[in-house]
Symmetry: C2
Subunit: 160 residues, 2 copies
């Protein structure tokens, strides 16, 4: 005997299952999209950084972005942040290689956790490598481009 | 003479103005709500920290939280993070006073920028104060409580 209750439950499962699937699929796709956009932006960042291109770096941040470098006060606004990176480049940090560890997304905001490898050239010495970890909060612009909005990092333990 | 066009435009303004107002008001209220929830959580954090209460601190983080302390690898999961704070407390950092500088919100996710003042007691010395800045990504739980999901900080320049 198939009870009315079983039929109703079965109908509900049939009705809800594809919704749940679509929901999850849509969410995954949104995160994948964000991650692809962020990884593309990170590649662009590394290139602009290696050139010491303050203008290009500045354009990758939102106008009201905040960068929080270690041993520094907060830096507010994309132009000041572009100048900061140019000064860091000039001080001997030649290149930055960014690796995305994790991305989560809520609407037009995404939070990335990552690691960065820095190549440092001190005058008259062999280049050395330093590693840092970071959190970047990204904002998707109306044209689909992701821009850095909050950018903070710190060191990992020195390798022995 | 009042043209049909003027009447249509006027009707549109009447129809849209309250929506825009509600939209902005709703958004502001959402951010205010998040900020109040975060500041309440920060006060609770300081109390639990001062007690060295690893369990209470752990419960304030999401289960898949990541903390990124300076000179440390990432710490994953709320239990490990609670233990980290307990160990920091035991090492002589007696108290933390948190000041929220900025909050933005996207749905159930909020991003806080803030400053923290740490009181440090080294054996046989007068307590000293250190200041750090931080970014915390918070997640609103279904019960309305905000939990720390990403937590990263670093130092500000030493005062002269």
């Amino acid at each position: 005997m198939v009870s009315t209750r079983t039929v109703v439950l079965f109908a509900l499962v049939i009705a809800i299952a594809p919704m749940a699937y679509t929901g999850s699929k849509g969410e995954d796709q949104g995160v994948r999209e964000a991650r692809a956009g962020i990884e593309a932006a990170n590649a662009k960042f590394s290139e602009a950084y290696a050139r010491g291109d303050a203008k290009a770096l500045s354009a990758m941040y939102t106008s009201d972005a905040i960068a929080l470098p270690p041993d520094s006060e907060m830096i507010r606004g994309n132009e000041a942040i572009g100048e900061f990176w140019k000064a860091t480049r000039d001080s001997g940090v030649q290149s930055v290689a960014l690796t995305t560890v994790d991305v989560e997304r809520s609407g037009d905001v995404a939070c990335e956790v990552g690691k960065v490898s820095l190549t440092i050239q001190s005058a008259g010495k062999e280049p050395t490598t330093a590693v840092a970890k970071y959190v970047v909060v990204w904002k998707r612009q109306t044209d689909g481009v992701w821009k850095l909005h909050r950018d903070i990092w710190n060191s990992v333990p020195a390798t022995k």
